[in-house]
């Protein structure tokens, strides 16, 4: 399961899972290399969840205030350091009103514009004084604000974070300038064709649900953002409420101290009202397709999306889809070897099952060397999917995939910050940190028969959306 595909960006929309998928770290693209590595003194218990071990092995304490604000403190051996994450369980999924796509992400930017007590400059000065690594990101289902700093800064962190979450205060002039910084973010992404492909994929795959638009939003809505000051107040009032937020502290922190600090600073914060309902996506009846041109040099590309169920800790179809992503598209996969190594028609190929609160997509991405091979590659992908649905897989391969998934997850918990980052997506999905271990326990139930059944059920042409892109207008 791909939870969050990239680590925290600077006030950045992360609605583009496909963008992260092809950043193979090579000399050709050294900036794309994710750093997965351990802390100096992580507990030995952070072993992969094999032989009954837990995927998330750290001691956890939690407390829920009367207003619904939940606080988790995870003991992680990072002496002197704490990662402080505020997880708002709202993202672009909640952009239900027409013309408001991209608003959750824009609002994330506005959260840095100060309060009457801490102006924008005073907030930034406090962060600078801590020497903190501080940032925020937004995705379909969440908005996360995070600070990594020395443990002595914890009281100040709780104070300034609680203050802005309750008393955000900005002027229209600042609001308008920040709207143009968001347009700047769209502009910086615009030279990457995957941005456009992702936008078109979700727009075609969804008719009704808000997953139809990316977290960045439609350009026309971004351009109109300076005019939405009144709506921004409504957005804050609606979603920035204690019962919609989880605070997660990972590292060298005493749970009781954290609970007390949060209670002192957030105890009077009022719970919110019910959120507007998210429209339900009806089943897709036939294959959707779009062909795009690109006004410059590019390799041809293919993306596909297959509708999948909502995240759950009880539905074995979800870990089975994760296993299928590995079986079909990992570097060990026969398809990868055929297309990338033997035939060399494809430069890179990947597949991912993206965890979401509501039903979303299993996505496939291929970067192909010649336009003439687009159709061939698409057919090869579909043939391989059909083959798994027909023949299933042997137990040895399944065990290898499970070993890989578990070791890879252990690798993601290599620092306090990365652990908090990984955990934040589960908090957005369920509100419950225990869902990590519940979900990983489901992997042990995946059988070869499940692999066969799930491939047959979801990789249907009628369930598919295909977007291709080639150089040319």
């Amino acid at each position: 399961m791909r939870f969050l595909l990239t680590t925290a960006l600077f006030a950045t929309a992360l609605a583009l899972p496909l963008l992260a998928a092809l950043t193979r770290p090579t000399a050709a693209a050294p900036a794309g290399a994710p750093a997965a590595a351990p802390p100096a003194t992580a507990p030995a218990s952070a072993a992969p969840a094999s032989g009954g071990g837990l995927a998330f092995p750290f001691p956890v304490k939690d407390k829920t205030l009367a207003n619904g604000l939940r606080v988790y403190v995870v003991a992680y051996d990072s002496p002197g350091l704490v990662a402080y994450y505020s997880v708002v369980r709202t993202g672009s999924r909640n952009e239900v009103e027409p013309g408001k796509s991209g608003f959750a992400h824009f609002f994330e930017h506005m959260m840095f514009h100060g309060t009457e007590k801490y102006s924008l400059d005073a907030y930034n000065a406090a962060i600078k004084e801590m020497g903190a690594d501080s940032n925020a990101f937004t995705s379909d289902d969440l908005t996360v604000y995070h600070i990594l700093a020395g443990k002595a800064a914890l009281p100040k962190i709780v104070e300034i974070e609680s203050d802005r979450f309750q008393h955000l205060h900005y002027q229209e002039a600042d609001f308008q300038k920040e709207a143009r910084a968001v347009l700047g973010e769209y502009n910086k992404n615009a030279s990457n064709p995957l941005e456009k492909m992702t936008e078109v994929l979700y727009d075609h795959a969804f008719t009704t649900h808000t997953y139809k638009h990316t977290t960045m939003g439609f350009l026309k809505d971004i351009e109109n953002m300076p005019n939405e000051m009144a709506y921004s107040r409504q957005f804050f009032d609606r979603y920035y409420r204690p019962d919609n937020i989880v605070i997660l502290v990972v590292g060298d922190a005493d749970p009781d101290t954290v609970f007390k600090l949060v209670e002192t600073n957030c105890g009077d914060w009022k719970a919110g009202d019910k959120h507007p309902a998210i429209p339900v996506e009806p089943p897709q009846k036939k294959e959707q397709r779009a062909e795009l041109g690109w006004p410059g040099a590019t390799l041809p590309m293919l993306v596909e999306g297959y509708h999948t169920p909502a995240f759950s800790t009880t539905n074995v179809d979800l870990p089975t889809l994760d296993v299928l992503a590995e079986l079909l598209f990992a570097e060990r996969a026969p398809l990868y070897k055929k297309l990338v190594i033997t035939e060399q028609k494809v430069e890179a190929i990947s597949g991912s099952n993206d965890a979401h609160v509501d039903p979303n997509l299993f996505t496939v991405l291929a970067r192909i060397k010649k336009p003439a091979d687009l159709a061939y590659v698409e057919r090869a992908i579909h043939d391989e999917m059909a083959k798994v649905a027909k023949d299933g897989i042997d137990d040895k391969t399944l065990r290898e995939v499970l070993s890989h998934v578990k070791y890879a997850f252990a690798g993601q918990l290599s620092t306090a910050d990365k652990t908090a980052y990984t955990a934040s997506s589960f908090l957005a999905l369920t509100g419950d940190l225990a869902s990590i271990n519940s979900y990983f326990a489901l992997y042990d139930k995946v059988t070869s028969a499940d692999v066969k059944r799930v491939a047959a059920a979801y990789f249907q042409p009628t369930n598919r959306t295909v977007v291709t892109l080639k150089a040319g207008k």
Binding site: T26, A27, A42, A173, A297, E331, K418
Partner: protein, 506 residues
């Protein structure tokens, strides 16, 4: 102020986990070896650092060092084909990463300690007995060519702007072409060239072995010893020419379809981490534009006050972001460095204003010096922030290797020097090393010729706001910025269609 002193104390106590000083590097079988054991860690990291890179590329074969590195890391070995390597790595969840730059090639991997021995065997085979198969050569060469001709030219304007700026700043210098090579250079490289390059350059005197994490006793030494099988000596690292000393500003506008204009600005520097002035200049750099933070002057004034773009930063070393983190990739040391300003894409109607605004702010720093308050805040910031640079065992190892290779542990140096540093030290270093004369400026633009003509004409380039409520002091400053001089002579302006970029070494 109370807060900062508490935080500094906290940072000092946290150094055990986040930035423990490296043991002095040792020699194992004549090979420099850096060992950082963390017995409690479930994960282990290996970095094999070769002081080999694009500076070793023969003329006309630009890209040979990087392609050789790819053939070693992403090709087969004598015991197994590349497909078999992928099969072997998969259950370990071990990825073998390859990073190439001008004077460095790094093979890196982090695995669970359960899988360390197997991963180390695979890695050693890749380095010691590469297969150099024809099918691996065609695949890796295609990847490099596609990176130049498709990704850089058509899919990544910000990277294009940075690389374009380097072609000007380092014209006629080995740093002046993309590490991946040029179209002509890659076209000329044969598999035989790769094999010969490996045989001559992958030698013990260019290698540093780094091992860290939950490693068993004796593992690191035994692992390092395996590389005694490499030849003792490579040719000496080539001498670097001086970068061109431009008397006038140079402008390169790259013509391509673009919604907004990516901008990179730079000039060469005569200092590296080895020099005392590097550290006060680090404070100035951070004050002007710390990478991906809100607190730099460029960020505050261009994005914050004016909404010009998404971000604006300054550097005094070649900077490659490590994945999706905020921090620099370690192990890309260069013997020569440069000052760089990166402006993320600006809408065309405001891009020349943004360029002028960035130079206006830099000029203010050079002329007026760093303000006392900004100096104090930046010192405090860096003293704490530097402790976050090496949080995990692979990055810690990377920093320890950099310290061994360059002779300076940058975190340790900052920690020692910041408390004693004075504002006057920063101002003096800024005046000595930063200049607005002889800049190399690259802009990626759709209407490239018109943009170049406009800048060369010296006409004002006012900002166009489509937002209300800009404060009067900002509007007043806009009037100064729109006329900020960027002298350009006709000969120093070049407009190049993107299709012609990176064809040959300039």
């Amino acid at each position: 102020m109370l807060l900062s002193s508490v935080l500094l104390a906290a940072a000092a106590t946290s150094s055990r986990a986040v930035a423990a000083p490296a043991k002095p590097p040792t020699k194992v079988a004549g090979i420099r070896t850096v060992i950082l054991p963390s017995p409690g860690s479930p994960l282990c990291a290996i970095r094999l650092f070769f002081q080999v890179g694009a500076v070793d590329d023969p003329k006309g074969k630009e890209g040979l060092a990087a392609l050789t590195a790819e053939m070693i890391g992403h090709g087969g070995s004598k015991p197994r084909s590349y497909a078999e390597l992928l099969d072997a790595l998969y259950p370990l969840a071990g990825e073998l990463r390859v990073y190439s730059d001008k004077e460095s090639v790094v093979f890196e991997g982090t695995v669970h300690r359960d899988n360390l021995a197997r991963f180390a065997d695979l890695l050693a085979d890749q380095i010691l007995s590469p297969r150099f198969a024809a099918e691996d050569f065609s695949r890796n060469k295609d990847d490099a060519l596609d990176f130049i001709t498709k990704t850089l030219r058509g899919n990544a304007d910000e990277e294009l702007g940075k690389q374009a700026m380097a072609t000007v700043l380092y014209r006629g210098h080995p740093y002046g072409t993309p590490t991946q090579g040029t179209v002509a250079g890659l076209g000329a490289i044969t598999l035989d060239d790769v094999q010969k390059f490996y045989a001559t350059h992958y030698a013990r005197d260019r290698l540093t072995v780094g091992v860290a994490g939950g490693i068993p006793d004796g593992f690191a030494e035994a692992f390092a010893k395996r590389f005694a099988a490499l030849p003792a000596k490579a040719p000496p690292l080539p001498k670097l020419p001086a970068p061109p000393a431009y008397k006038e500003n140079q402008l390169l506008v790259v013509q391509k379809d673009a919604r907004a204009n990516a901008i990179s600005i730079g000039h060469s520097l005569d200092l590296t981490r080895k020099d005392a002035d590097f550290y006060p200049l680090t404070v100035a750099r951070s004050y002007l534009g710390e990478h991906r933070t809100f607190n730099g002057v460029l960020m505050t004034h261009l994005r914050g006050n004016r909404g010009l773009n998404y971000g604006d930063y300054a550097y005094i070393e070649n900077f490659i972001q490590d994945g999706w983190t905020t921090f620099p990739l370690p192990n890309i040391p260069r013997r020569q460095q440069h000052f760089e300003i990166w402006l993320r894409p600006v809408p065309p109607q405001n891009s020349l204003f943004a360029l002028r605004a960035a130079l206006y702010e830099t000029d203010k720093l050079i002329r007026d010096g760093i303000p006392e308050a900004g100096f104090a805040a930046t010192k405090t910031f860096l003293a704490n922030y530097a402790n976050l640079w090496a949080q995990d065992v692979s990055r810690r190892l990377g920093y320890a290797i950099d310290a061994a290779v360059t002779g300076k542990d940058v975190v340790k140096e900052l920690r020692a020097r910041l408390p004693k540093m004075k504002k006057a030290d920063v101002d003096r270093a800024v005046r000595k090393h930063l200049t607005l004369g002889g800049l190399s400026i690259a802009i990626v633009a759709d209407k490239a010729q018109a943009l170049a003509d406009k800048l060369a004409s010296d006409a004002p380039t006012p900002i166009t706001y489509d937002t209300a409520g800009t404060p009067p002091d900002v509007v007043a400053e806009d009037k100064i910025i729109e006329r900020f001089p960027i002298p350009l002579s006709k000969d120093a302006v070049h407009v190049v269609p993107v299709e012609q970029m990176f064809e040959h070494a300039p």
